[in-house]
Subunit: 337 residues, 2 copies
């Protein structure tokens, strides 16, 4: 009597909900026995301050080169915790399923979630599943929330940039947004663009080991891209920041696709990238530590915090000019995460 | 240049996203200054074990007699923490908005969220907003996740029921589900059915003060209703449970509407109700403490844990017979939470 597609009854809280949970969701995500399932998960008292974050994922398409909505949802929340210098302790998963979703798609997504969670050693401890009628959602939306522990005394936040600090990025920009866009629109490119979707917890651990209190800001440039995220940091810190365009790594196929479509890779979303604002004297050492990590091998110093100011962000262009950079205006690429 | 409706650009992560956050969402929910906004919220090291829970809300309609999707989302997560005997520490809010949602609706929902959070003294500390095109969601979906602290050594969980224990409910059953259904379908009833949507943290605090280790299970009978939730407890505890139908409080208008529609109030969702499984010798004292609270004034002992067993749930009916009760089968009332 099993169904190959999600039915409204799978969201009822009754027998079908229990079957979906017991047969598919719980074994894939957590393995928590039925007798241990309660309204809330219980965690031991953590050994430090807590970091707490949430993100909903509505990416279209749900599968794209380099990942799917499942690993995206885990990595995104792990990365938001990592940006506070926190180690992920536990993740929650809230699923909103559209009636008619193939169960095989759900299974593939759940497997990707579990693999991504296992990779950083975090447990999925609690969850919730809702089902809405056809046409009232789009296949699957996922919320992940995360609790992390901060096992040090450092304060890493958006207002921490100081004059003279260097801006580091851990690799090429724009890959995720262009991978999703190319996949959604069926663009025929010479080579497939792959999303950079990846966890950044390991990279941040390696950075903290050498950088310590010289790491002032960490932030992942997702929606709005590198430009919007750096503008946020400039405003929060009340500092003027200057970027050097020629130092910003861009994959050839991403740069080419952006040129054809009239997009600026600086405004395109990333899902495995971070921006670090670090003390100048430690910048080379932190950069070297990053380059030893798989997610940091193309790391590069791309700019400098110039002085206290109104939060201007400017770009020294390849041809030698200088232009002001503002936040993304309007909606460039909807539903990339 | 402000818009009265939600636009796709409000989900871009760029300028419009920041305007929506700074002008509407942040002032309503948290008041956290822009310079303090980071990828994760930081909480002090808690003084006890943690409880962690998540729920997504997709109720239709988003406004109904007795509440709206906003207070429902806060109370639901506060209550899941309360069912573990935890005090709410912090709540996250993930919004998925459909393009075209009136901003005034969003504002009303956010206000209801803030009021519900203020009522139990919990802060909304982190959030996320996504926008999807028209027809790809239904007005607004909300995920709330909650972190709570357990400031005692008690273990309250679904497997804790023991032979002889009494089952207590804090009031009438089926109000929320029937309020939403009547509102959605435009049923013309003699008197309006109001949702019981309410926070249960205060009630649980009062119960713990007198009940302590004699409170074995707490669970809120939301989707699937009292019957499904008690069946879950029976199975998790491997105990047989017997309910007395005549002892179960049902509002007249709810009972009447259920009779007309062929629904059983035992399977209809509640959003301000809890089931407590407590030691028999303490049951009257716990009941009395509940009846002193606004959300417990109609509390009643409705059944008994009979013996160890396969997890049967049976009902002694008003006319004196006995029937077996199973979990809700199929989807009785879609999208009631």
């Amino acid at each position: 009597m099993k169904s190959d597609i999600i039915l409204l009854g799978h969201g009822s809280g009754g027998k079908l909900s229990h079957q979906l949970l017991d047969d598919i969701i719980i074994p894939a995500l957590s393995g928590i026995a039925q007798s241990e399932q309660n309204d809330a998960a219980i965690l031991a008292r953590p050994d430090g301050r807590l970091a707490f974050t949430t993100d909903s994922y509505v990416v279209d398409p749900i599968f794209f080169p380099g990942g799917c909505i499942g690993d995206l949802a885990i990595n995104g929340t792990v990365n938001d915790l990592a940006m506070a210098g926190a180690k992920p302790l536990a993740i929650s998963v809230g699923l909103i399923l559209e009636e008619g979703l193939p169960v095989s798609d759900l299974e593939e997504i759940l497997q990707a979630m579990r693999q991504a969670a296992d990779k950083v050693g975090v447990n999925i401890v609690t969850g919730d599943t809702k089902v809405v009628p056809r046409g009232k959602a789009d296949k699957i939306f996922i919320n992940t929330s995360g609790v992390g522990v901060i096992e040090h005394e450092l304060t890493i936040c958006g207002s921490g940039a100081r004059p003279g600090d260097k801006i580091i990025i851990n690799g090429t920009v724009g890959d995720h947004g262009m991978a999703v866009l190319a996949s959604r629109e069926g663009l025929e490119l010479e080579s497939t663009i792959e999303s950079d979707c990846a966890e950044l917890h390991s990279l941040v651990e390696a950075m903290l080991a050498v950088g310590k209190e010289d790491i002032h800001v960490l932030r992942d440039p997702t929606r709005g891209g590198v430009a919007t995220t750096l503008k946020e940091i400039a405003l929060q810190s009340q500092m003027d920041i200057e970027l050097v365009e020629s130092a910003i790594p861009v994959n050839d196929n991403v740069g080419g696709a952006c040129a054809i479509l009239g997009l600026d890779p600086l405004f395109v979303a990333n899902e495995g990238k971070l921006l670090a604002v670090v003390a100048a004297e430690k910048a080379e050492q932190i950069l070297a530590a990053m380059q030893e990590q798989p997610t940091g091998k193309d790391a590069s110093i791309i700019g400098t915090v110039i002085n206290k100011g109104a939060g201007r962000l400017s770009l020294e262009t390849v041809i030698g000019g200088k232009r002001s950079v503002e936040m993304l205006a309007g909606e460039q690429l909807p539903r990339i995460c």
